[in-house]
Symmetry: D2
Subunit: 360 residues, 4 copies
């Protein structure tokens, strides 16, 4: 199913950017987990528009309401539906999109696939769809905390265009990430990034970058061999986010320029625990976590919406020119950080339940 | 399920590198498609060991037998089971692995996960598991040919270590790839790559690289929005191959260093057809094919097995040293080319059926 | 997943009887199908409480709101979320259930499974959960109409307790069913059933019966061999409705008392069409429809809630006595008729899409 | 998928009655469970043809070979492939079926669905397909034994035609069932059944009946609310067996003729344990086991193959007459007993793993 993710902790998102709203249904959540709307709101606030001067000014409070599956503050084990109403929708800003396809958006491909599309905003392809993912991930993180209290997911902006942050995956902390509006834990570089994004916006242009994510405290043994390798599931989850173009784990593409004798992670005992001396594997071997930190990088392209005239075609097959109006992010990365974190939590939670099902 | 892939054209692989054999069951295949064991053998021969002087000398003919689902040379629409017997297994070469974990292999993680493992060879983590994938993909390619007779999948070695081939994704042909044993369509570079791999082997070392794959002739509209985006499914499929560390599509990681105004693919009419002037998107927008060539790259790490002593630990928790014996590829890429092609075919075939289910 | 049904036309229901509301998300619906809230309301009204003097007086309008997946009156091909708010909830009527388990309800088993339950009404086990099914089936019936315009699903009350209606499965019409409040197309028997149910209610007791359903106009070829046989899927769908205890198709249990020579359905040509002279098979052979009417029967037990004191136990393990308050159906069958019809439509729609996926 | 069953303990069967063989792949099996080919053979022998004078004389040893997933006598946690070769195939006995459809078989519907069929025997619709199920269930029973050592599944022939056995579901034992060739634990009635089946065979006719199955020792809490109710999953599993026409649990169809005050199962404490005074529910309430014995009945029609001339049509649309040759069961029930037992084990095992996944 196109709108479902997970084998056991399964989420189904629904909704378009303009219309009744967006939301998610979570099936398979363990019972008796404390959950409130406030818990969910904390993360929705981290992804919502209008949160800072470098993101889109669309004014949505994105208030998540829990419609089912929770009773007296605890999960029931039954489906949890969380809904957010669309409030600051301005479909009139998209009137041109009714008849012309925005370059590098999904307008043309939705039309080609379905023969119909909601042209008011991105419809289903809008990043508003990720609200359901972020809300569900709040629950996933609570489930994970029961399995591995020490488990810690930290995602952050690693690069913006050519600006590269210096970050230590072993030590970077959530608080450092949240300390600035671009969500880069290298404070000095964060300032340069913010200035750069403002400059790009004033040019009517947009810019991309790389988000890195590290997960520490994952027990060895999580993930499945063959098709549902942990890195494969993470890759899919990340590439399912809007605007992504690449994924690499551990040594990644750079590792292809090493020899085996340089690349292999030697094992050594650290007390009772098997560790590796290096971590080119990125914490996963044969699709299964080895207990070392899992870290990976996700490439985000520059936002497709820019405020310059662009060549395109109409729905009736004529060449034309289009200039965006409306409200848009000059750079999606600051708001994508909680999305990457959310997708990571969703994948790990599903695999924790899968592991428990098979291995007890 | 860890050993299943696909929603509608669903494959289930089974088997270990040492044991009764390996194989695949394909469920959901359309009926009345001509299929013979010879069809399957052609691709199995392209991935089998012992095929050239730069791959492992393990002598397996890998003869695929069709056990069900085919009658009088045609598919019945019922499950197709294809099995290959393991013949040249030499478990005694792996005796050390019973008590020590090979660095950067899956020995330790399988033990951590299952509390048991088949230490004779890679077991389930062996690349022999991909036999079932390659066999199933022969069927997938036949199904795809019914949907899109012009559809063409070409995978090839793009880089080995620091050696980079010059290839035009719009024109590269299967025959150019198969013209040399390293499967690089840049003939001059192919020779250098072959020499380099031989050198690495004689050093007792190993080396990695990047495989690129292009799919031409994909109709617009294939792929699903949200979680099962076509690039997300391809990413998962590729990262499910042994030894992979990264995936990027279209502009990939390099695209993060462009501005939106440079990166966007303008639309233009070409006769009746909507085309793009550039193809940074890599043929997919919003998770759905736009009719342009789909192309992507997959990073393969250097083979974990090297013929040098390496530091590791025993299954009982003591530091030790291990040196591989047995037969291994100094570089997996030449044999991984048909695997990348196979995974591409499997993903596209599944999405072709999904598209037909929903859209007719 | 416990709350999902269907491979390709997949529904996910959510919600408890007391709480934010109930609803459904439909994933996989074909695009460009006309759909309005009025369409959905027609069937919701047929299952809603308070519709007649022989059902529960709980006063719910059950107004279905479409939150996503529809644009300008047509389906988009994206998930359709339909929600109904709980309005006339009276949790105080259930206060005793907080500490005692109602006999033959799901109170005890939910507690045993989850260690928590929403004791206000039936929670997730309430028949209110079927609102999402009925709403989704409105969409399913529209999809089916595109595949088979002649397809017709007619469900009706066949027996109440020992009262058996005389109905001809070849000819019975929807209008005859809807002509009376008990939904029995045998008008004379319907009157007796209504009187009987009133009598049972005045006794503070409850009663069950059998619903029969016939589907005419199903093309031959629908359904899958092996596990997803059409009758197997129907059996599961029916047994997933609250209060059901049995399912039989065609000759059913009575057929076990025939010999093969009596039971077999001989084939004969009727013009160009292959027909059978009898229909003991109930329209399905080998799991696949043969073009004859599909008909089956579903057993519904007497409603568990009765207004007499009953022996039970408390949540803390003491014997006690419980007498129900609140509002309840003395007989679920009149309102279950649209549920049986809905489940039939959902199964057939899913199989129509599956058939198209594999066979084109 | 048509040939797959189970969410977590997932089996994929493959194979036709005439061809390379039949088998199964089990994915999701827990590791470190002792498993040998001898274990599997015991149950295959109980379903194999030629086992007694009242079943088909087709001479198949049905020797199950484990091709993967087991190492040194224990499961690895990876897919277990079990294969059986077809040996005593006599396709020439089926030559007439190439051009004519057998009444009440799947010949016509397979042709209608796929436009092709293996006319040598029943192909995929043959009861030989159930070999894979029975083999997989051997593994399922071993998994269940880890969850609930006291769990006991006993299936048996309850009726043949109008002959009804007297059996106490609380006490009936496996040994009583296996004590005679018709598998009816009422020894006196078993003799009459055997004589009756012999008589029917000598008439060239066939006969059906009802199999009852009881599961004792199921812990409370197994099963899922809503669509995957335990009885719904059992109903599907049973109706997926060839020749089945009905399923009822607990009070079943007879329960529809009771009042709620008679039908409800009062709760009472038995020491620390919550019990019910009656068991009309059949051990399941709201889709979830309550700890009482689960018992249900399955209707099997008379075997479709009879040795009398029957009216039918040819594949080219002409009326004709057909008389069966070949080897067939005059009554499927004795061999169906291990199949019902197997399907029960498969459903319970899957739900045990699902329960562990969500609840720990």
């Amino acid at each position: 199913m196109s709108s479902q993710l997970g084998q056991l902790f399964r989420i189904s998102t629904w909704g378009e950017s303009h219309g009744g709203g967006v939301g998610v249904v979570i099936d398979g959540c363990p019972p008796r987990i404390e959950l409130s709307e406030a818990d969910i709101q904390r993360d929705l606030d981290r992804r919502r528009p209008g949160q800072s001067e470098i993101v889109t000014p669309r004014d949505e409070k994105d208030e998540g309401r829990i419609l089912s599956g929770v009773f007296e503050g605890k999960t029931l084990g039954t489906p949890i539906c969380i809904a957010v109403t669309n409030k600051d929708a301005r479909p009139e800003s998209y009137r041109e999109m009714e008849t012309a396809f925005r370059p590098s958006h999904a307008d043309f491909t939705y039309e080609a696939k379905y023969g119909i599309r909601n042209w008011q905003g991105g419809g289903r392809a809008s990043a508003r769809e990720t609200i359901g993912r972020v809300a569900a991930a709040v629950v996933a993180k609570k489930v994970l905390a029961q399995f591995s209290p020490a488990l810690e997911i930290v995602a952050y902006v690693k690069t913006i265009h050519e600006l590269v942050a210096d970050v230590d995956v072993e030590r970077v902390k959530f608080e450092q990430v949240e300390a600035n509006i671009v969500r880069c834990p290298d404070a000095a570089m964060a300032e340069r990034m913010i200035e750069f994004i403002k400059q790009v916006r004033s040019d009517g242009d947009s810019v991309g970058g790389v988000i890195e994510c590290v997960v520490r405290g994952v027990p060895a043994g999580l993930g499945e061999p063959v098709f549902d390798k942990l890195e494969a599931e993470l890759a899919k989850a990340m590439l399912s986010l809007p605007a992504t173009k690449g994924f690499e784990i551990g040594s990644g593409f750079a590792g292809t320029r090493m020899r085996g004798s340089e690349h292999n992670d030697a094992f050594r005992m650290e007390g009772e625990r098997v560790r590796t001396t290096t971590n080119r594997s990125g914490g996963i071997q044969g699709g299964i976590s080895n207990g070392e930190p899992i870290f990976f990088r996700v490439a985000f392209k520059p936002t497709a919406t820019i405020f310059k005239p662009q060549q395109t075609v109409t729905t009736t097959g004529e060449d034309t020119e289009l200039q965006a109006r409306g409200r848009h992010d000059p750079c999606v990365l600051p708001r994508a950080v909680p999305m990457v974190e959310a997708m990571t939590a969703l994948v790990l939670c599903d695999h924790a339940l899968r592991q428990r099902a098979q291995m007890g």
